[in-house]
Symmetry: C2
Subunit: 171 residues, 2 copies
């Protein structure tokens, strides 16, 4: 904290953007605490079923991109294949994910959720969306737009590209 500039600049071009270290620190803390809330509800459901967040993430993105390959999932999740493989192995063994040899390239595995997989994904997602919905409603439409803008600006370049590509897949 407290490198320099404790006083806000005299409201320049970008309309009242006071970026004191304190403002930034509060943003950091808000992000930390909010992320806890963000994961709390799915975490409870996952714990009952002896899964973890890693399983949730896999289910989410397989649902979002049906037929995706392991390599692609790896890039999006940003973990090692060993780590992802451990998760996928259990999901396939438990009948939540279907891993089919690729048609055009038989080295690839195309991943799909089974009916049971979709059911769990829906349960997890609904819990998380319920909180997000409540937060959005409480904050209002303009706040939501700002929320999304800041989050996008906070992503790494290559990740933002992935995110925007995903946005276009649907709605």
């Amino acid at each position: 904290m407290g490198e320099g500039g404790a006083q806000p600049p005299a409201a320049g071009g970008e309309a009242l953007l006071f970026l004191t270290d304190e403002q930034l620190r509060k943003g950091i803390e808000a992000m930390f605490f909010a992320y806890r809330g963000f994961t709390a509800d799915p975490d409870r459901i996952l714990a009952e079923k002896n899964y973890g967040r890693a399983h949730h993430r896999a289910l989410h993105f397989i649902n979002r991109m049906p037929g995706t390959t392991v390599t692609n999932l790896l890039a999006i999740l940003g973990v090692t294949k060993q780590s992802l493989n451990r998760v996928l192995r259990t999901l396939v063994a438990d009948g939540l994910v279907d891993s089919r040899v690729g048609r055009s390239d038989r080295r690839e595995r195309n991943l799909h959720l089974t009916e049971a997989g979709r059911a769990l994904e829906r349960q997890l997602s609904e819990a998380q969306r319920a909180r997000m919905r409540a937060a959005y409603r409480a904050a209002g439409a303009e706040a939501v737009a700002g929320f999304r803008q800041v989050l996008e600006a906070m992503m790494d370049e290559d990740i933002r590209r992935q995110y925007l590509a995903l946005r276009e897949t649907r709605g």
Copy 2:
């Protein structure tokens, strides 16, 4: 995905708040990807020094609340005291944190950063603030306000209280 309502409602009271499942899912993904960016810079610094995120969190909040006790830190970080203790032990051993027996209640330990601790905290914080600053600048002042509103609404009740209490400590 896709429980119900694919179509936005006809713009009711809260001014154009379209809460389709798809909108919510995008918010969820934005949160996931942005959090990665949020932690990426400090993570790199920590890795060099053989520390982890848990150390960063401890340094952050000890800096923020000098003289705080272990129990208080526990409540804020939301981990078990054993888990926190492991982290504190290494920070104290490495001379980054000073743990003094409480004056009024000698069961308590009052935690402070040493000069070295402040230096590392500053380094980590500056990396994280730099990204936050860039994101804030890119998104603009109104977006920042919305960002904070949504994050606050996403926190658990008791955590939000802690967060707001922290806000008042400074600026």
